[in-house]
Amino acid sequence: MKVAIASGKGGTGKTTVAVNLARSWGGPVQLLDCDVEEPNAHLFLGGEKGEEVPVFVKVPSVDEALCDGCGECGRFCEFHAIVVVGRSPIVFPGMCHACGGCAKVCPRGAIREVDERIGVVETRRSGSVSLTLGRMDVGMSMAPPLVHAVRARIQGGSPAILDAPAGTSCSVVATLRETDFVVLVTEPTPFGLHDLTLAVDLVRELRLPFGVVVNRVGAGDDRVHAWCRKEGVEILLEIPDDRRIAEGYARGRLLVEALPEYGDLFRSLAGTIAARVGVAA
């Protein structure tokens, strides 16, 4: 079973839900931190740092001796990852989607594909949680291939929880695709609702079953609840607005460890998700 935790924007408590859900699952569980631009689940879960395995993508490399500056490659690339200025192409590896197209259209055979490192994948263990995280190298902007590399570490057997990047970008889509259930985390505020509706549009487009976790209930108003009722969206869990939660988060502590009274909430969330997916938790 694969469960993704996502939110329309950052700072809603997505990581809090992901790490505490993983810790409360009861039994071995895999947590995949797919927020490769800013992985942070390990800050809460701890565990020995594991081996970092580099991840590469293919990017073009131009042989200037063969290139005549015709500009075909630059005209082809819709990502502006290769641009011909004057008579010589400039490659921006961080923008390249590794489609191989420029090498194919080059009439002079001047483009070769070479490996470019985009980041690393690391797996570490913290109690019953096996945590895999991706970390993108500075200056890179191609997150989806790294997300795929993180997902490739998923092993059958134990459930996998995928912590998605915030937002609705293509790395979010790469995380959500082919999961069994999506948990959308939001806050009961006008901004929270706005970002939630964008996230809901995305998961509906991907045809994935989903439910909502409302964080900081009591801090805002009831518009998220009203909207969910109207749309027939299930609210899986409500986390109250408790100052102690933010304090624990700031200190990098797991909510269920700092405030054990919240353990039941996350155990019940695990149970609800398992029931929705149709497996025993």
Binding site: F92, G139, M140
Partner: protein
């Protein structure tokens, strides 16, 4: 020589737009003929990534020898630099003021990108 100004309007009275890649237009001013022409930067603005690169590419195509803008990101700078186009930072209110500053030699040439890209 032609100078490209990032702008949100289509005349010398228009505001100088602060960001090179996301500016709505470039006003290309020919110092020799004193003629101005406007290049639409709409396609660059619409692209989620690589706006600066695309914008730089259109400025190169327009035959500019210098760019005057408030902020030019690293990728755009790299393209402009490769094309031998000088980049001048300027915080003037309008394109006309920026042009006067350029003419009087008040502008400082940018030697590196002053705005970090998305993740750089």
């Amino acid at each position: 020589m032609k100078i490209a100004f990032s702008t949100s309007g289509e005349s010398l009275e228009a505001p100088l737009d602060s960001r090179f890649g996301r500016a709505p237009y470039f006003l290309i001013y020919d110092l020799d003929s004193r003629q101005a022409r406007v290049v639409d930067n709409g396609a660059s603005r619409a692209s989620s990534q690589g706006a600066g690169i695309q914008a730089a590419d259109s400025v190169v195509r327009a035959g500019a020898g210098a760019v005057v803008t408030a902020h030019c990101g690293p990728k755009a700078f790299q393209v402009l630099h490769a094309a031998g186009i000088k980049v001048f930072s300027c915080h003037a209110a309008t394109v006309g003021e920026a042009l006067d500053m350029y003419r009087s030699g008040a502008l400082v040439e940018q030697t590196g990108a002053d705005v970090a890209g998305h993740h750089a």
